[in-house]
């Protein structure tokens, strides 16, 4: 009798194991199949009382979720990711149907191209006009016609330098290419930003598709490699605070924080121009509550809420209503808001052709294995 029981339970175990296996197999097949399709039909009558939001880390005041729920009855589930690629993978993985995502310009462009975004009904929004017309125009490069994205914060890529270690205040990309600070340079490890520095220094557009210009930039970067102490992205701020280099290529927002830690660290936008980046919101196709998502976008455009978010991030806000209400000393703080004349030569990244993107990928590998 005992052995019979044991056999039964053993059979049950094997059977349930098989079921799990089959389920997993189906899941994987579905996932593979789905990543090829154009997105999924929205289940009618999906959850109307909540939205799921995906954002960068430390990029939003969490207390506003409670306010939002009090005002609209919609609960906010909040998730974070470090890079646009990670966000993309999280969304495409399909485990969670995110309603909203805040990500970088080129990733927005990619999502639009793949049909993953919904048009934003700006007419239905009360506070969309708070965002300065200028930033909608900037967004045209990656979202033609301003149909899918809402600007959230913007900034520049520039030079973070240690004023105690440089001979003179750098005002040009020249400092990272002329060899004066050999072994004292942190170059950006973000592929497109690295080529951007070289292209701008050479006087070309950062959106060039001309292979000769890109090759010239490559030669410059290959020649620069011996002077580079390290290629970094996230670690640049702490490494500069630790005093491990004189100059680094970094994002304006990082520069503000670096300066808080060490007043010797200052930021400059090179006169040749640089990349203007815009982080924007988009409403995602797979989301179950597009109305709720739109309400949330309207909510964060409201001056008081925009202020709360600004106080967490201290990046330049595209919100004109907020900007005008800020005290003079913050508006004129060059770390927060780069002066108008410093960015005249700057450009926003436009989407590149597949061919150029792959070409960059090859050159980048070539540079790194050298």
């Amino acid at each position: 009798m005992r052995s019979g029981n044991e056999f039964k339970s053993g059979g049950a175990l094997i059977l349930s194991g098989l079921v799990i296996l089959i389920l997993m197999g189906t899941f994987i097949v579905c996932w593979v199949a789905e990543s090829g399709s154009d997105g999924v039909e929205i289940a009618p009558g999906g959850s109307k009382d909540s939205i799921i939001v995906l954002n960068y880390g430390e990029y939003m005041e969490r207390d506003i979720f409670e306010t939002f729920e009090e005002e609209t009855g919609i609960k906010v589930y909040y998730d974070e990711a470090a890079t646009p690629e990670e966000m993309y993978a999280k969304y495409k993985g399909g485990a969670i149907d995110y309603d909203l995502m805040c990500t970088s310009d080129y990733m927005i462009e990619r999502l639009i191209a793949e049909g993953e975004t919904r048009e934003i009904d700006f007419d239905a929004m009360e506070y969309a006009d708070n965002i300065d017309e200028r930033y909608y125009r900037l967004s045209e490069t990656f979202d033609p016609g301003n149909r899918y994205s809402l600007p959230y914060f913007w900034g520049t890529v520039g030079l973070l330098y240690n004023s105690a270690k440089v001979k003179e205040v750098p005002d040009s990309w020249d400092v990272i290419f002329n060899g004066d600070y050999s072994g004292d340079i942190f170059m950006t490890n973000s592929m497109r930003d690295a080529y951007m520095c070289a292209l701008k220094y050479l006087g070309y557009s950062l959106n060039t598709e001309n292979k000769e210009e890109i090759d010239e930039a490559q030669r410059l970067l290959l020649n620069q490699k011996k002077d580079v102490e390290a290629y970094l992205v996230d670690e640049i701020r702490e490494e500069m605070v630790a005093g491990n280099a004189a100059v680094a290529v970094c994002y304006s927002g990082e520069a503000y924080l670096a300066n808080e830690y060490d007043p010797d660290l200052e930021y400059a936008v090179p006169k040749e121009g640089t990349n203007l980046w815009v982080d924007s919101w988009c409403i995602l196709n797979k989301g179950k509550n597009p109305e709720g998502a739109l309400k949330f976008l309207d909510f964060i455009c409201r001056e008081d809420i925009a202020l709360l978010n600004f106080e967490v991030v201290y990046y330049p806000t595209p919100n004109r209503a907020l900007y005008e209400s800020l005290p003079e000393d913050i508006r004129e703080d060059e770390y927060v808001f780069p002066p108008e004349d410093s960015i005249v030569n700057s450009e926003v990244y436009a989407p590149l052709s597949q061919e150029t993107t792959e070409y960059y990928g090859e050159l980048w590998k070539e540079l790194k294995v050298e």
Partner: protein
Amino acid sequence: MNRASQKRTLLAFPYIFWIIAFTLIPVLILFWYAFTDAEGAFTLKYLAAVFQKVHLKSLWMSVRLSFVCTVLCLLIAYPLSLCMRSLKISRKWMLTTIVIIPMWMNFVLRIMSWQLILSKNGILNRLFSMLSLPPQNLANSGAAIVIGMVYDFLPFMLLPIYNSVMDVEEDVLEAARDLGAGTLTVIFKILVPLNRPGIISGITMVFVPALTTFAISDMLGGGKVMLIGNIIEQEFLNTMNTHLGSGLSLILMVFILIGMLFSFRLERDQEEYKAKSTAEKEKELC
């Protein structure tokens, strides 16, 4: 099927499930991607991609760094094992613990501390300047990667070697000494040949993870050294060329399999030899 073996099958089931779900299926998916292109058509170009100059260069760099790392690990682990053998039990326990306890800590944290130690204004250079030695620029270089790998993989070399060193009977060494062998002769003529399986498995267990690492080279190489693991990482995460990433992973897998076959064979030879000598011993006793 008798009950005992039935029970054994049952106990093995979670493991089999694990293998299928997390090894077999992913490997099959990898094969699928490696042999197809974006349109799903059969192709060999992603496997052939390993012969591109960039990939060969980074593969060669990986092989070189892992070779240096393996040799250094061996040079540290073998003498250390001999020392540990000659110590008393309690000290052996202590040393083993000293080696093993760091392994309980997350390796990312341990590698991060190497960043702090090796960086320009790091602990090492401060120490050097206190001793009025010239500062070393070790951070963000191949040397830093090797240091990190040696530190991280040393236990994998030490443990199999230590075990095989401990397995050698004292009688054998005494016999050698009685016959007039000096310390060096004892080590190179008796111990090393007897410890060959341990040494081989140590070499495999260090060389393979060193060859495939990407996290250590990422954190200590300052983005200036791109190992084959980093290339694969870039293809999967940045360029999102899953097919090329899978193709290169398969090639790397071939390298690993060759290494494992090599060590399996040597181990089998050793076992056969052992079995033969025991049989001979028994015959003599009869």
